[in-house]
Amino acid sequence: MSPKRGLEGPPPEERPTPAGRRNEQGIRIDPEVEATHEPRRTVISALVEHEPGVLAEASGLFSRRQFNIESLTVGPTTDEDRARITMVVEEPDPGIDQIKKQLRKLVPVISVRELAPDAMRRELALVKVDAERPDQVAAVADMYGAKTVDSSPETATFEVTGARQKIDAAIETFSQFGIREISRTGTTALARGTAETAGPGSATEVSSAETANQAQTYTQTQTDD
């Protein structure tokens, strides 16, 4: 090509190059402290204005920014103008940090909290099974503290509540009888004791979230059952 299709100057191979590198999360790679964040599952609770479109706005945010979300529930609170959104997400720490900050940016969102690993988490499932072996079915239901909600000559439907793992286990066990249909609510959660989940007075955790990006070791959060 003629020089008019370019500029003069030392070509790339003659230039000095820095020794450092960043990882895909934009963190400088320090050979002594390798910081690679693995995805972890956590519960984020948001208190929001109870108005049309908030849920769409929140769920739109997740799909648009490709956040990996496992479940999302929404329900009223004691204040009729407020609703609580509870979501279970699985992301590396920088992703969790982004979810919290991006959620907080939505104008109808009042506060956002990531719940501590020991937070109370519960889910409800309706499990409809074939009732050919009623005694055995009842025994399994008993084992998981499931309540009978409906029964017909062919089917029995149970309500199981508990942490996700318990429900997974119950469904697994019920499957020996033949599961016709199930419906799960997704996880809802509250902080333990006097700790606040995400209240009107609680700010978002942004300032502490900054430090969440520092190299830290995280363990998979445990359920509370």
């Binding site: 090509m1 008019k4 500029l7 790339p12 230039r15 960043r22 400088r28 991006q102 104008v107 979230a209």
Partner: protein
Amino acid sequence: MSERASPVTQPEEQHHPDEQHDEHESTADDADEHDSDATTEPTPTPVTTGAESVVRALENAGVEYAFGVQGGAIMPVYDALYDSEIYHVTMAHEQGAAHAADAYGIVSGEPGICLATSGPGATNLVTGIADADMDSDPLVALTGQVATDFVGNDAFQETDTVGVTTPVTKDNTFSSEPDRVGSDVSEAFALAREGRPGPTLVDLPKDVTNAETDREPDDPRVPDTYEVQERADPEIVTAAAERIENADRPAMLLGGGVIKGEATDVCREFAIEHEIPVITTMPAIGAFPEDHELAMEMAGMHGTGYANMAITHCDTLIAVGTRFDDRLTGGIETFAPDAEVIHVDIDPAEISKNIHADYPLVGDADTVVSQLAEAVDSSPKATKWRAQCQQWKSDYSMAYDAPKDEPVRPEFVVEALDEATSDHAVVTTGVGQHQMWACQYWTYTEPRTWVSSHGLGAMGYGLPSAIGARFAADDDQEVVCIDGDGSFLMTLQELSVAVRENLDITVVVLNNEYIGMVRQWQDAFFEGRHSASDYGWMPEFDKLAEAFGAQGYRIDDYDDVADTITEAIAYDGPSVIDAHIDPQANVYPMVPSGGDNGQFALTEDQL
């Protein structure tokens, strides 16, 4: 409809620079101050309808201009506007209205207002709204909507405007109460400008704007849930200051937030006092005077070689009001890989989104850089580094050859335009090669003089934004639109507006009869296969301009350039120069997508 003349013939300046400084502190109280002149005027008549309340909300917020297009569902609002002092500019297309309002917001610092009807009117606005969202420009869009009884029934010209615009607005509202509709508009105005600016939208059903109400709108105020942190954590400020003092290779990276946060002065003072080389992102063009020796100018894909060397080799990067867009960073792994990053941003979500911040400083740019300036006691000892930066400036000079017997080089046209205009002339652009040449070869020295579609990259932005900029700029500021032939062709119907309003703007079409940037990429990465990029024919833009009633000029060779430009700039009204440039001219330096900034190519064979 209005007795107010268009701004070119108005003796009074529309905006005083001092007014713009308090945009971040502005609250409802300030809105009253804006109206202080009006206290001697008769008390405004009480509102009687929702539409009047909407217009009153705009008036209370100090709105002087609105850009829009009429239509069925927005008619009640336009009817109320008929009696208002607000000067409405009827655009040819709603996209033009949104871009004009966006540019008005960039140049004035106050939210631009655009109006459109429901359905196609609203969807036509979307490109402009998305542009404002990407660039954090303050913009308020008011859209008509079918009557609430019809909403959800697929009525004529019904679109779920709130649904369509949710991902591209800072906030939007379906206004369903006649008593609330004015206050919804006030709140949208406040939200567009507070904190990190952005576009807001209020959807106005026709029955709501037609309905009777005597409710005056509330003052513009953000909702209680909207919190903005002004000052950064003092401990992190102290740590960052220490890092700056001990830096061997410090660099500042100014982003668009510096201009939006009115932090230009404090950033300039800080850089000059501590002799820190300054790199800008594209939206920050004008934040630092490019004729200063510390100016490294724009970094990134088509940034200068010296800016890209400086950003790649610095050990401390003071980044202010930037979101580390991929066109700036190139590949993340090689972006400023030795640098500890001090990141100042008003939006906590930008901290560590793309580039990890070692020193996260959330707050208003002006406030936080002032905090930093106070905390830094001694300048970094970086004599060698500064000399290195100067060496890079000479190694990677942007000089080019312009043999007089060859087709005109676009860079030459841009430099001639810069020469022919004042230091505070406003430049608007479309998107593509011409936009990059306008970045590279015009020497910007003032904030709010560069108006472009950065994040969204919306071709067609140039002409409508020049119209909006004209209404916001002072009378002695020239407004020049540097456009490409492809970009100009997308929105040139707005010339009718420039002529109707007799706006003093100069459009310079850098015409290569290609979608030039695509052609350049096809040459570099697609074996020169010019699929759908080679027009080979373009209308004669000078004659087209004359058909509209604008002044038309044409440049074919170097001898035409200076005189034509002088004449066009001097013409008091809209003019168009069809500048036929070297069709093979390419934009360099270039960092290919995801590449290493330090390995920028100076010629095609280096890609």
